[in-house]
Amino acid sequence: MTEHTLYDKLWNTHLVKENNDGSSLLYIDRHVLHEVTSPQAFEGLRLAGRLPWRLDTNIATPDHNISTDKAERDGGIAAMVDEVSRIQVQTLDDNCDLYGIKEFKINEMGQGIVHVMGPELGVTMPGMTVVCGDSHTATHGALACLAHGIGTSEVEHVLATQCLVTKKMKNMRVSVNGTLGAGVTPKDVVLAIIGKIGTAGGNEHAIEFAGSVFREMSIEGRMTVCNMAIEAGARVGMVAVDDKTINYCRGRQFVPQGEMFDQAVSYWKTLVSDANAVFDIEVELAAESIAPQVTWGTSPEMVAAVTSFVPTLDEQPSEEKRKGLERALEYMGLESGQAIESIAVDRVFIGSCTNSRIEDMRAAALIAKGRQVAGSVKQVLVVPGSQMVKAQAEAEGLDRIFIDAGMDWREPGCSMCLAMNADKLGSGEHCASTSNRNFEGRQGSGGRTHLMSPAMAAAAAIAGHITDVRTFIGVN
């Protein structure tokens, strides 16, 4: 019998039809919608006189451009200051109401960043195909789902047919074995992976993250890693099912109970790569080699250990690399060879679908507790990923810790991850950010993003510059 990878199994289970040219019709179990990439899809549906194929598969929530400011947020949609954003959120509500699609509305318990909301409500479960008009859909792969981002035409296609026309990817396995050092988090692991394979390393592949480090990692941590598969060039990232996966799912709102849960679990347990399954690419990293990571440039692969230095222009192997580095340094306002820890930060953002789950909030609070944000730092935004995370954090008193330290405790949403609402960097400002993209202008026109873990971002807020969080926790 042929041995299959986890990805092969998920693919085979959802295959409706294979065309001669290698493209296939893949059945979609869960479709998550938000305000930005759905209006044109609904418009298309209406123009063609079509209806959604199935209703009990779609779930929607606004997240990208809603305000995270409590005063504005409390007024609901009507109070949204930015008119264009307001129309978009209203349009999502209208479309969901019209078609009867389940939506967690702007201030409803359950609302949150799509990729935080799906898993925590049990909307996404192991073995499913999950799509959303957002490239970080790979996050859901932490639950051994086949999950990836789609474009708006595909959103319309999935709404109308429950299928996606797509092509099978190749298999890639990234194994990290060993034990992570203190202060080294899932974010550091994924940044180190991207540093190693580059932002095109996973192109056309589905990545399975394997090895003892991921087995030890919490589901939240696995989500952080899978989330950034896209920054490693892959549309899909995933981790096989184990007891942690099953325990995570148990009892969530949309997860079955009783006998049906047991039935599901016995299937979920098969969602692992067979022992001798063949991967097209294998990459290995030693856990011990990973230090806390920080991006210094304008691409996630421009990343280094916090204790190291910005690369120097003379050590570049090619003219193209040299030019790329020069451009990045100019944009970032950094010197060739500068120590990473010497980079001062103007703002700090702790949030985004990469790092806004309860564990991330706890990790940041641990560093913030009893300390004060440096006077030179203009703003520290702590933005929980969902209403549920917010409620949990408040129940644990984390909000008090942040506020006492001089940080802003906000309402759930994407916020400064992509600066579609009022949370933005000014031109030239450096930001210690727990999000996933450091492209030019991503967090505001001219803004300079340094990606790192929540603990590292909290440490930067306290120190006023990028700093090794391990000195805060008594390591090093």
């Binding site: 349009t91 389940k102 949309f254």
Partner: protein, 215 residues
Amino acid sequence: MKAFTEHRGLVGPMDRANVDTDMIIPKQFLKSIKRSGFGPNLFDELRYLDEGQPGKDCSNRPVNHNFPLNQDRYKGASVLLARKNFGCGSSREHAPWALEDYGFNVVIAPSYADIFYNNCFKNGLLPVVLTEEQVDILFNELAAQEGYQLSIDLPSQTVTTDSGQIFSFELDEFRKECLLNGLDEIGLTLQDADRIKHYEAERAAQHPWVFGVIK
């Protein structure tokens, strides 16, 4: 969707690698709920000296004359010549909408980000993949010659220069058919509605927890 068979047009350059979708159409324009009208904001941050906002009239904004597509010789370009990994970053379909609305029918590059590549076909835009060497040749010729045009033929899958060089490119049969016939992909899939229903019924029997839970 309009059909695509062949195209001959003026070439415009985008001479840098890893052009991401933020660069193609900055995020503030994603707030629109329409599918059209993004052309004036294509490459907004590079094209203009001020910050673009949705609803802002672009006709009297300060223009960055150093940006090639703003130069007279490239006015009316309908073929975009680009470098590797074009369209990386966020999956926004506004990127091909903006390219198409601006007037591009074809993009030529050594490679594309997956999602962007897919999205092009759904919007009647043809993304052609040539080798890095071939793209180099085209960039050199383009720099050397004003009014440089290329002919792209979809049935024969070729790009032809006016000097008679012919470069072949690969693409999926399925995508090619859809583009050639201007076929709506949804209608095509719905021809298999019975098959999808059959799959669904089998799946519901096997994995009932996938169905009926979201209400």
